[in-house]
């Protein structure tokens, strides 16, 4: 992320990231696992340990033997939207499949947030963060045999831009691209109209992963159906909508990311992603061995897989945590005191303690603790019902006969339309707000209804998170100067200038300062009302090893293997 520090040193831990929250508990467990691995495999185990990620409850079984080649891993996902093209999809289940089929220009170290080499052995940004030069490694090829060269990078990025809104994530990462230049077969330069410090991290994501230039010519439908030729360690063997996607080993794959322990072909023969929409079926299928692993066990069932022949591992998704986004174009939520009171009246600890798993964490800021440039703002997010009441009293909101506050005949009542489970989270928030005299009306419905309400700007609060392992996600979600105008629907404020500056800052310390400043402003004025960190939990049978999280908490099957 630093212009001068051009990447050749993977794993240079950013001092700003090595906070106790990141390294503490996870590291402790890693060490005991390493010890269990025994001396023979010490080296392998150490490698695995150093790349395992910043998990909160790591308990993958120690390897009795080294990685074993062969076998099929059955992995359950819950939703199939009919598409597995990495450049188009945006939902977590499709991403789990798509991620394995492409290699990216860079990779991100899950522990430090550092951007490290993958297909690009060197990369460099100019000091304005408007121009990025990538030098590709040699010898890497697409699944159809063509070489991964500079021209193919240009073809890919242009194809993503051409997809427009269909490229749910890629279109935002590339929105300000002004030109892509092929300097020589190994060197490509991407230029932006505006400073774009987030771009290096974007190149590490699956959605800017590379497909063969021939695949760029396929119809969107064929690409959705998995007929593309990728660059990753797995290729698509078959994909049947609503049934399963089968990935198989890419023979001859030898260009791993610097963050992986495996250096050659994948160990697994195949991975079968079985689509199981019903939560009870996923739990039972894992217990009865009909599937080997899943990241979709409900919070209530998750303790069944703690030991008893299973292991589980949780990692918070980096990015903006679950938030209530105030619609500040409405008169009541335009009042800073009202928003602040709402934030103070929420008991975040109670949400995670009573409704989620022990590995889930309350929000400590707008960004989750696995996000690069995270800083702990818990002090500003303390549960303070008396403070909330005082703010509202002072602002003239007095309790009415029914306990709900009112001012000038207006009740302090709000609505929120949402679909995210567990739906009980907002039911608890509703009770917490009621205790200080605020009425929150809940409408739990489908994604379609929520999208419609958001498109019509017809809501008091919207609700949701956004996964992204780069602090620029703050600008994406809250920035009033972005194309979307931000989730608060408010005019631009000084914080938007800070968000803009952070997007131009390549110097690590400078960017840290700006990101901290922006977070603090968003929290203090309660533009952001964060609740808890979304996390992903892998639950797996003991025979599954080294199924890992990459920096964005997406699943990585490259190092995974099955014991016989």
């Amino acid at each position: 992320m630093n212009a001068r520090n051009t990447t050749t040193e993977p794993g240079t831990a950013g001092p700003d990231l090595a906070g106790p929250d990141l390294a503490g508990p996870a590291r402790g467990r890693r060490i005991s696992r390493t010890a269990a691995a025994g001396t023979l495999l010490g080296t392998v185990a150490l490698l695995i340990a150093s790349c395992g990620g910043t998990s909160d409850a790591g308990s993958q079984p120690g390897a009795g033997t080294g990685p074993v080649r062969g076998g099929n891993l059955n992995f359950a996902i819950s939703v199939d939207r009919g598409c597995i093209d990495p450049q188009q999809v945006g939902n977590n289940d499709a991403i789990a499949v798509a991620r394995q089929t492409v290699a990216s220009l860079t990779s991100q170290d899950p522990k430090t947030g550092e951007i490290v080499p993958w297909l690009a052995e060197k990369f460099e940004a100019n000091k304005d963060a408007t121009s990025f030069t990538f030098t590709l490694r040699s010898g890497a090829t697409f699944a159809d045999g063509t070489a991964i060269d500079a021209q193919s990078v240009k073809t890919n990025f242009e194809a993503i831009k051409a997809l427009g809104a269909k490229a749910t994530l890629g279109s935002t990462y590339l929105s300000d691209v002004s030109g892509i230049t092929v300097k020589d077969p190994k060197t490509v330069v991407v230029d932006f109209a505006k400073p774009n410090a987030q771009f290096l991290q974007a190149t590490s994501t699956f959605t800017l992963g590379l497909l063969s230039p021939a695949s760029a010519k396929l119809s969107d439908a064929d690409r959705c159906a998995g007929k593309f030729e990728g660059s990753g360690p797995f290729t698509v063997k078959s994909y049947t909508v609503d049934k399963e996607a089968v990935l198989e080993r890419r023979e001859g794959y030898a260009w791993p990311a610097a963050t992986n322990s495996n250096k050659g072909e994948v160990y697994l023969d195949t991975v079968t992603f079985k689509i199981i929409p019903e939560a009870g079926n996923r739990t039972g299928s894992l217990q009865s061995g009909q599937i080997d692993a899943t990241a979709a066990i409900s919070a209530a069932d998750i303790k069944l897989f703690d030991g008893n022949g299973f292991w589980k591992e949780t990692r918070a998704n980096p990015g903006v945590v679950y938030n209530l986004y105030s619609n500040e174009s409405t008169p009541k939520l335009k009042e800073t005191a009202v928003r602040q009171a709402i934030s103070k009246a929420i008991n975040r600890e109670e949400i995670t303690k009573t409704l989620l798993t022990e590995a889930d964490q309350p929000a400590k800021g707008v960004l989750s603790h696995t996000t690069p440039f995270f800083k702990d703002f818990s002090e500003l997010l303390k549960f303070d019902p008396d403070g909330a009441k005082k703010l509202l009293d002072d602002a003239g909101w007095k309790p009415g006969a029914d306990g709900i506050r009112a001012k000038n005949g207006q009740r302090l009542s709000f609505s929120v339309t949402y679909w995210q489970s567990p739906k009980e989270v907002l039911e608890l928030v509703q009770q917490q707000l009621k205790a200080v005299g605020i009425d929150l009306q809940l409408k739990f419905t489908t994604i379609a209804d929520v999208t419609a309400a958001q498109a019509n700007k017809d809501y008091d609060f919207s609700y949701g998170n956004l996964t992204r392992s780069d602090p620029d996600v703050l600008r994406t979600v809250f920035g009033a100067n972005t194309a979307r105008g931000g989730s608060n629907l408010r005019p631009a404020l000084p914080v938007d200038t800070t968000l803009g500056e952070q997007a131009a800052a390549l110097d690590k310390n400078a960017r840290q300062r700006l990101v901290d400043q922006a977070q603090e402003a968003l929290i203090k004025d309660a533009h952001s009302i964060p609740l808890y960190e979304l996390s992903t939990t892998i639950s797996a049978s003991e025979k599954v090893h080294d199924l890992k999280f990459e920096a964005s908490s997406r699943l990585d099957f490259y190092d995974a293997w099955l014991s016989k």
């Binding site: 009919g82 939902n91 809104a165 609503d242 009870g280 489908t446 994604i447 379609a448 209804d449």
Partner: protein
Amino acid sequence: MLRYVGQRLLQGAFVLWAAYTVSFFILYLLPGDAVSIMASGDEQNAVDPALVAKLRSEYGLDRPLYEQYFIALGRALQLDFGISIKNGVAATRSVAEVLPETIKLAAAGFALAVLLGSALATAATFSRNPWVRQALGSLPPLGIAVPTFWIGLLLLQLFSFRLRLFPAIGNDGAASIVLPALTLAIPTAAVIAQLLSRSLRQTLGEPYIEQVRAKGASEALINFGHALRNAAIPTLTMLGILVGNLLAGAVVSETVFSRAGIGRLTVTAVNSRDIPVVQTLVVLAAVIFVVTSLVVDLIYPLVDPRINIGKTAKA
């Protein structure tokens, strides 16, 4: 007879048009459109609204409603229902790919339902022991009352997760169809049993049964040769509704047992407001209803010679 069939076909065409039109407008009245849903992923929407608007216009979703309707109807008449908005595949192809799976499931479910339903009805009616009659007679209302979803989960727990006799997921092999078909069959069997036992009791009270008995026919001949055949007619009338039940049950059964099929496709298509796919499914369902009721009407005279469809049509 030919004239009657012709008339029925005309009626059928009207039903198809009405189904298409009503579903078109209902889908447009529902909040949310496919393009915005697709662009939003699972999380906080980040896509530039200008890009979303551009895509909506590529799909013609920004045109006046009547224009969209007539364009779509014109294409539908040529059996082109458009392409799925979520993945660009032709809607008819999306449906055709999974239709055989649902046909297999529905056929197996229906066969099981007829078998279970008739067995239960005859056992409940012809049994001499009043306790057995009572116990068996209370099963159909129970089968109708219990949610299909719950039956499915119960079967899963017992036969797949505990006894490990059948797989819990997928469409592969004969074993995978047993539990979903049984789940589908139970509520349908309950309806059949209910209808059949009621009309059996009624038929057994008819004077001609006494006459047959007086002639010295065995109880078995009375029950199975005469009563059952006559009692089958009202049940046959319900066939159209039963087929509807099966389609609705397929949604639940396919979801619980993770089977690909048109039930699952319907759920995802409705949730993502994928209008081309939903309309293809609506028209398909309408075709099934029209054909089933026509077939039922045509086989009436075979079961009961007193029914003459030529006269029915004129009446």
